[in-house]
């Protein structure tokens, strides 16, 4: 264990977490240049002691040593789990063994994970929601249900008498500094933004919902599950989340945005893209933009896609596959929410035309709606194939504006349209 002990963050409330300065990569997708912390907190009331979250299993010893400095196991009445991911619940089974009298408080959605984690038959716990609270005598913990930040199970816990929000991963970051408080640690602004961008960004609507619950609280301190404890100007972190979750630029919500991305070696797929655009533009209330993927990396495109309502991808088929720039873009979308957007594909091909179906499958895998069958053209698109593209654009635009005519098809028709040679 590193030399620092439990750290008091308010009278009777301690940080009892663990430092992991050696960590460089978190959950494969996140990098950190100076490690992270797993923050656990211990709240002492006149009639009970609560532990809020635990730490990663590899750091359990450090956590228990700090916890023992501020509480005896038989005093612990309450264990709150704001989030069941293993970096916060690794030490839970052992804590439950050491403090068998403590009652667990979790969100409803956390049950599944809890059962997977603690395989007792006689596992008992209390499900809590916004409005529920637990009393520790002169201290009260209120629960805020804040799902999907960044798992379905996530919640925040509000310690009323001290104005402390135990926020879980929300407002956290991967930054390790034993000075702990935001006014004393090194410059972690980048880490805070980076964490938001990689963990919270896909859930921005849920972030805004959570802020509705958090905003009215008379916050004195935010105690997140990773990184510095936010004691100086805690509200400014809440404001920053609001800025980050808001749309990039408000241009009026009275139109739907359809983005048509294409890549073309002989201009054929490009002509198809233009036809898709022309078709979509015949429908009022839809703004169409055309982008050549040849022009660049995926970064600005990801931002554009985040704001768009519909996406159409045009790719030639080369060696039986869509081309790399298309896959590169389609594999960069995990950091934003694309679910329920409208998707479509089209493209020209030489011998076989698999790209369109492959892109459609990927779009469905990303949880987009793909209601309009894609268009393929062998080499140079004919007038009727271009008309098909135009119709594809028109139908997409109708779906976007909700002006699509109800359609009836048979299952056998659906099945044959999957075949690349249909």
């Amino acid at each position: 264990m590193s030399e620092i002990g439990a750290i008091e963050i308010a009278p009777g409330t301690h940080w009892v977490g663990a430092l992991d300065p050696g960590l460089r990569e978190f959950d494969i997708i996140l990098r950190t240049a100076n490690g992270t912390t797993y923050n656990s907190y211990c709240v002492r009331g006149s009639a009970g002691v609560a532990v809020i979250d635990t730490v990663k299993a590899s750091h359990a010893d450090e956590f228990f040593a700090r916890l023992e400095q501020v509480a005896r196991y038989d005093e612990i009445t309450t264990i709150v789990l704001n989030h069941l991911e293993p970096d916060h619940t690794g030490a839970l089974p052992e804590l439950m063994r050491r403090a068998p009298e403590a009652r667990l408080y979790i969100s409803g959605k956390a049950q599944l994970m809890l059962k997977a984690l603690v395989k007792h038959d006689d596992l008992t716990y209390t499900i809590v929601n916004t409005g529920d609270f637990v009393e520790l005598g002169d201290r009260t913990l209120h629960f805020l249900n804040t799902p999907f930040l960044h798992w379905p199970d996530t919640q925040c816990t509000w310690l009323e008498q001290q104005g402390i929000l135990f926020s879980g991963d929300v407002f956290g970051c991967h930054f390790c500094d034993s000075r702990l408080f935001n006014g004393q640690v090194g410059d972690f602004r980048f880490s805070f933004e980076y964490y938001y961008a990689h963990i919270m960004r896909p859930f921005r609507e849920h972030v805004l919902d959570a802020l509705e619950l958090i905003d009215p609280l008379p916050l004195k301190l935010i105690a997140p599950a990773h990184g510095p404890v936010l004691r100086d100007a805690p509200k400014s972190y809440v404001q920053r989340y609001r800025q980050l979750a808001a749309p990039l630029l408000h241009v009026g919500a009275d139109f739907k945005s359809l983005l048509v991305f294409y890549i073309s070696s002989y201009g054929n797929t490009q002509r198809m893209a233009e036809a898709v655009r022309d078709g979509a533009e015949t429908i009022d209330g839809v703004r169409v933009s055309l982008y050549d993927l040849q022009a660049g990396g995926d970064l600005p495109f990801v931002d554009l896609i985040e704001e768009a309502d519909g996406l159409a991808f045009g790719s030639p088929t080369i060696n039986g596959d869509a081309v790399k720039p298309v896959w590169d873009l389609l594999s960069s979308l995990a950091v934003i929410k694309v679910r329920d957007k409208l998707g479509a594909a089209f493209g020209s091909y030489g011998w076989s035309g698999e790209a369109v179906n492959m892109i459609e499958d990927r779009l469905r895998g990303l949880k987009l709606r793909v209601p309009v069958k894609g268009v393929r053209a062998r080499l140079i698109p004919t007038e009727s194939e271009l008309a098909g593209c135009c119709e594809l654009g028109r139908q997409l635009a109708q779906h976007l504006t909700g002006s699509n005519e109800p359609k009836i098809i048979s299952m056998s028709e659906l099945l044959t349209r999957e075949s690349p040679h249909a």
Binding site: L112, R339, E360, P371, V372, P406, S410, L414
Partner: protein, 95 residues
């Protein structure tokens, strides 16, 4: 063979299918944005809402019932990978 008409409300498409078809087989082909994970009735990812026509759906199996309960599903929710259509008209949507 008896037929059923399954309408995906969020995209305005109705599909005529043979009785016995599982909802997931239709939804993944029609592109209605209903997602799935395990396809075996365990993960709950494919939960969807039956807007009308529940009487035209197969009964919940013990497994489906358990997973729906664990996911705090309402009376109108079903798992697309488990529920089969039996006939008549059914209207569904994601979620």
């Amino acid at each position: 063979m008896p037929k059923a008409n399954v309408t995906f409300e969020n995209i305005g498409i109705t599909v005529t299918v043979p009785a016995g078809t599982r909802l997931i087989e239709i939804s993944e082909k029609v592109g209605a944005g209903i997602t799935y994970g395990c396809r075996e009735g365990e993960c709950g990812t494919c939960m969807m809402r039956i807007v009308s026509g529940m009487e035209n759906m197969s009964e919940r199996s013990v497994l489906e019932d358990k997973v729906l309960q664990e996911n705090m599903a309402g009376r109108n929710n079903r798992l697309a990978c488990q529920a089969q259509v039996l006939g008549g008209d059914i209207v569904v949507r994601p979620g």
